[in-house]
């Protein structure tokens, strides 16, 4: 039993206790905790791609959408049959079904992450950002045009399986998985790719593998978050997974300090709470966020916990000039 294992177990026990106490907790607080948990999963998973591996992705909402829709489709269409085979709708069988749905959502999202990861290999910085934005939009448009999952009208009547145990527990698992992965010698490869791809390759690190792996893992957990989200609000539309949603997650990662798992976790929680406070002033919420982004970039680009040292300005890859 090592420290990391102990923390994981403690976290899981914690989520068990939390869900035990759930009936005694105020409904509103439960909403905030659930959303915070989902946001933590989103932020930590995006941090793997953006922060640790240095691949600036603006399409995370797309992976979340895939997870949400795949898991929901499973719950709605295959759920009832599965429950029956497991002997009716008991707590145990419901949870198994939910776990199955979540995993399918995650795997579906991971597969899409694979598709997105490959074309992104040759791209850097700005270009990568725009391409991932494009992929996110393509996913959204595809869902919007797929009547089988409700098209623009959305998907309704998703069974409300999400509870504090699942949310908190999965948040803990995500933190554990990604945090400990990056900490290992294997995981240092991600950081090497971020710091200097050419040097990383020269040191025997297969940069392609790491970049694609980052996307796949990041997408997987985003898909899980999507599944949790869908089974919480029970009604999803493609519009809910648009570019603004991706930006929400990006803000969390930036605020927390790209590359700091702890930082983004804290940032996710803070921003969830901030969101709730500003809900009355929904109109102003994004204005505040936007100003926050700008001010942070000018004053403290390394975020709360400054995980990422400000890199020296490298000679930029030469780009075409104003030709005529």
């Amino acid at each position: 039993m090592r420290p990391s294992h102990i923390l994981l177990v403690l976290g899981l026990i914690g989520s068990g206790i939390l869900s035990f106490m759930a009936p005694n907790i105020d409904d509103y607080a439960i909403t905030v905790i659930t959303l915070a948990g989902i946001n933590i999963i989103l932020a930590v998973s995006l941090n793997l791609v953006n922060g640790h591996t240095g691949q600036f992705s603006l399409g995370h909402a797309g992976f979340m959408a895939v997870g949400a829709y795949v898991s929901s489709s499973f719950s709605i269409h295959a759920g009832p049959a599965l429950l029956k085979t497991l002997g009716g709708a008991t707590a145990w069988s419901t949870n198994v079904t939910f776990l199955g749905a979540l995993l399918l959502g995650g795997i579906g999202a991971a597969f899409v992450g694979l598709l997105v990861g490959f074309p992104s290999l040759r791209l850097r910085g700005d270009y990568l950002a725009i391409v991932t934005l494009g992929f996110g939009e393509i996913i959204r448009v595809v869902i919007q045009n797929t009547d089988a999952v409700g098209g623009p009208r959305g998907l309704n009547l998703i069974p409300p399986y999400t509870n504090l145990f699942w949310t908190f527990g999965l948040a803990v698992v995500t933190i554990y998985v990604i945090g400990s992965l990056v900490d290992s010698t294997y995981g240092r490869g991600f950081l090497a790719v971020r710091d200097d791809e050419t040097a990383a390759e020269a040191m025997g690190i297969n940069t392609t593998k790491y970049k694609v792996l980052a996307f796949v893992l990041g997408a997987f957990f985003a898909g899980i978050a999507g599944g949790l989200y869908a089974h919480y609000i029970t009604y999803i539309t493609p519009e809910g997974f648009n570019f603004m949603k991706s930006v929400d997650v990006v803000v969390m990662v930036i605020l927390g300090g790209m590359g700091s798992t702890v930082g983004v976790t804290v940032a996710a929680i803070l921003l969830t709470i901030l969101n709730e406070f500003l809900r009355e002033f929904e109109q102003y919420r994004m204005v505040v966020f936007a100003l926050l982004l700008i001010v942070m970039m000018i004053l403290r680009p390394q975020g709360l916990l400054g995980g990422l040292r400000m890199p020296r300005r490298r000679p930029k890859p030469a780009a075409p000039t104003i030709a005529t």
Binding site: F56, P119, R122, L123, G125, D126, Y127, A129, I130, V131, L133, G134, F135, E137, I138, V141, V142, Q144, N145, T198, F243, V247, V250, I254, Q283, Y284, M286, V287, F289, A290, L291, L292, L293, I294, M297, I298, P301, M310, P311, R313, P315, K316, P317, A318, A319, P320, T321, I322, A323, T324
Partner: protein, 312 residues
Amino acid sequence: MDEWSKFLQQLINGLSQGSIYALIALGYTMVYGVLRFINFAHGDVFMIGAYMGLYFHRWLEPVFGKVPGPLGACVILLLSMVFCGILGIVIEFLAYRPLRARPRLIVLITAIGVSLFLEYFCQLQWVFGPNRQPFPDLVKTQTLHGLGNVTVKNTQLIVVGVTILLLLGLHFIVMKTRMGLAMRALSVNPTAAQLMGVNTNVVISFTFGLGSMLAAAAGIFSSMLYQQVQPFMGVTAGTKAFVAAVLGGIGNIPGAALGGMLIGIVETMVVAYSSLIGISSGYRDAVAFVILILILILKPSGLLGKATREKV
């Protein structure tokens, strides 16, 4: 309508839409040329240009009447362009200049912040309001009938025509004026340009101003064609225009114009022939992104760009 007429009709539709993309794309490409950075907020200047057209029309109604006609329309267009030109310069000064020496990623994130700020600020009730509003006619709209069964709105011809004029004007500025020379020098080699006495700040401001003016024009044209404005109209148009700039070769001015036209035409054709291709017309917005991904995989330097290598 026979096949040829349909094709021509769609071609014209595509060209007029393409003109709008082209004008916006030029702003992206010029700023990228001198600063190596994607001005994410550029699409929102387009939106503000459209709204300024709306407001100038309203304020000048006593002078020009409800339908201003060619002279009034030109005045409104110019006023919007100037307003947005200044706006562009102000944005650069406040948000991007302090970050000139920072890594591009930081500036990109700031640009996203500026874009979001403009969009959400403008949709506040006491600014532009979140709902779409109708855009007034600036000239009396007529439908002209041409060869076969092709119908063209006069506004489409105006859009394409004025766009061509603006492109020529831009070409003149970039090729034949000292400022244009300075822009080109700055995009090739900033250090050498400064050593030769080019005032970087002035040139960069000028570039932003110029690009923003063109975006404003695009905003007015778009509103003329589609007769409505809404605070988020810059998002899709802006992103597609960026794709156009990349398609043509980012940093390459004729490329941006070419790219814009191509995307406009391809997009229109895909929608028009969507049943033939077997996809729903709702995929319209995805067309530009698919083109983007293809071009970045196949020829990242764009159609008119030159491939360059990173020095190891």
